[in-house]
Amino acid sequence: MSLTPLHDAAAVPAVHPTDAGSLGVLLLLVIGLPALGAAVLLLGGRRTDKWGHLLGCATVIGSLVLSLVLFFDLLGKDAGERQLTQDTWTWFTAGSYKVTFDLLYDPLSAVFLLLITGVGSLIHVYSVGYMAHDERRRRFFGYLNLFVAAMLVLVLAGDYVGVFLGWEGVGLASYLLIGFWQHKPSAAAAAKKAFVINRVGDIGLSLGAALIFVTFGSTSFTVVSAASEHAGDGVLTAIGLLLLLAACGKSAQFPLQTWLLDAMEGPTPVSALIHAATMVTAGVYLIVRSNFIFSLTEDARTAVIVVGCITLLMGAIIGCAKDDIKKALAGSTMSQIGYMVLAAGLGPAGYAFAIFHLLTHGAFKANMFLGAGSVMHGMDDDVNMRHYGALQKAMPLTFATFAVGYLAIIGVPPFAGFWSKDKIIESAFADNFVVGLCALVGAGVTAFYMSRLMLLTFFTKKRWEKGVHPHESPNVMTWPLIGLAVLSAAGGLLLVNDWIVDWLTPVVGEHAEEHLSVSPLVMSLIALLVVALGVLVAWVFVGQRDVPREAPVKVSFVTRAARAELYGDAFNEEVIVKPGWSGVRGLAVFDRGFVDGIVEGTAASFAGISSRFRLAQNGFVRSYALALLAGAAMVLLALLAVNFS
């Protein structure tokens, strides 16, 4: 590829933070507040039921405020000094290996802080209404706080092991929240599945960290970024691939994507916050954060791009066939993260756009999930879009905000999604035509399935269940929708004279100039054309026909495959789970029968020998005498043998 900086060429930016000083306290508080909230809510027990949700919101909003303070402070500094560190304490040391909890606050962390606390706050507020009738609401907010704290650790940690801490923390929170309604076996199963598959990704992170230590003698960003140029290509590629594996787990990228759709078992705010806006984007964060690795290894980046392309198409296709509104959105999330990963894989040309898209997506996808939640709220928690229809009158506000999100995701200017996705498509084409084409097609499919979703939900005829009376949600739920809608609409402003790119430069390095054969404008127009096509197709095939309340069975292979999530689960089931179980059962037999059998067998055989040979003691004195004689003979033979051998 054309953009790979050679080793002698542009050095990757080193992480050399200056001490945060007075801001350090704020950094600690940003994490501390939600952590404290979680502790109080989870340990406090029933006592905190009455005001628990309020505390939950308060802590996160507090963090938001602090994040803003920090952000503007950072904005005040000039680009060189936008890396702050706060020393805390040494986590552990072994030999020359030392891991600390020191925090790293730089432009990348800054935007993530805003995203996490911002969207987090809105969703907390929303949940107050959404979970109002759940007797375990207090615990729900405890978990949410826990998640926010962990996510903040993830993005503020200055060391790969520190990242690991947050990484697993959010995993735990997601496990708890997906399985929040544990009495539903499906929820419990989904939660476990999510955690286990994430663990598979963690193999990547563990070994990655190990390899980084072996290579650089440390896992802190400071040391690694300073020395990465001196490492060999093979090692860097290996590290890159291991980190990619981790990212795949967390961000539901192929081949570890299957957990995300099941994760929709969790309450909708969870889907919005964790499985759309923040946690699932951690993989992208990891790749961008490790730019000092990826920028130097073309092979690893290629792998990243491939994964990104596959997933963005997979997700899109799945999104087209799902009737469950949340699963459709989940498919879309996969696909959008695919875009981000793809962008991140482009190296210095793409890092910034990956983050840009991550931010805008965080806004509009959260917006739409909450919208979906609001819809379900009105439809008695029915998630099947085939039972919706013509809701725009029933819940106008939800419709309006949702529409903004819709326009944003399919990339209609001037909404946020247009700017971010457009940039990615451009860079993709600039990098490689096939990749660009994937991105472009993806955009088209996105337009299709989102339009389908819109039409099925808000337009076409009513297909409501009996006794369902759709109604607008309470204000506490609609205000966050409005807030997110605004962000979805205005997110594009971040690109005004490449602000986001310059902002991230200190972290990801100089934005390599791309030389595109056609002008950006043309590119955008093509993209818009494709999008329009997608919308049109949706209008023709969904909008113009009347939708059956039951999903038709006789459908094309493609649709069936898409409904089965492209057989990702089936594959795992057949290739891993079933053989695994039979293997385990076999092992149990082996353990009892062979490993333990040998032991027991030895004991038994001794007993057998004993009970057989005791019969030799037959009670006849003359046979005893014979034994005695034999013994004498033996003794004499032994003596002679020794002597004459």
Binding site: R614, Q617, N618, G619, F620, V621, R622, A625, L629
Partner: protein, 99 residues
């Protein structure tokens, strides 16, 4: 002098005694066979005493006889009791203790 014939004879006697012990059932006979073994030993002792030119062997022979006599006393006592209780002097009948 050549001791070989005497030793060979004593060995033969000893062997006869052994075989007797192993083959005969009657306690008394078995016991006599043991005596035969002892006497075979006596013959050997006396022979070697002669060969070595000192008396220890011959003295030993006397001791062996005395001891044998003592053994007879004890042995017969035991055999008698067994015989009286079991009405048989066969060593094979006394085989309650086994395994």
């Amino acid at each position: 002098m050549d001791v070989t014939p005497f030793i060979v004879l004593s060995a033969i006697l000893f062997t006869i005694g052994c075989v007797g012990v192993l083959t005969r059932r009657n306690a008394i006979v078995v016991f006599m066979c043991v005596e035969l073994m002892l006497n075979a030993s006596n013959l050997a002792l006396v022979t070697f005493s002669r060969a070595n030119g000192n008396l220890e062997g011959q003295i030993a022979a006397f001791f062996v006889m005395v001891v044998a006599a003592a053994e007879v006393v004890v042995g017969l006592a035991i055999i008698m009791t067994i015989f009286r209780t079991r009405r048989s002097a066969s060593v094979d009948d006394a085989s309650l203790l086994k395994y």
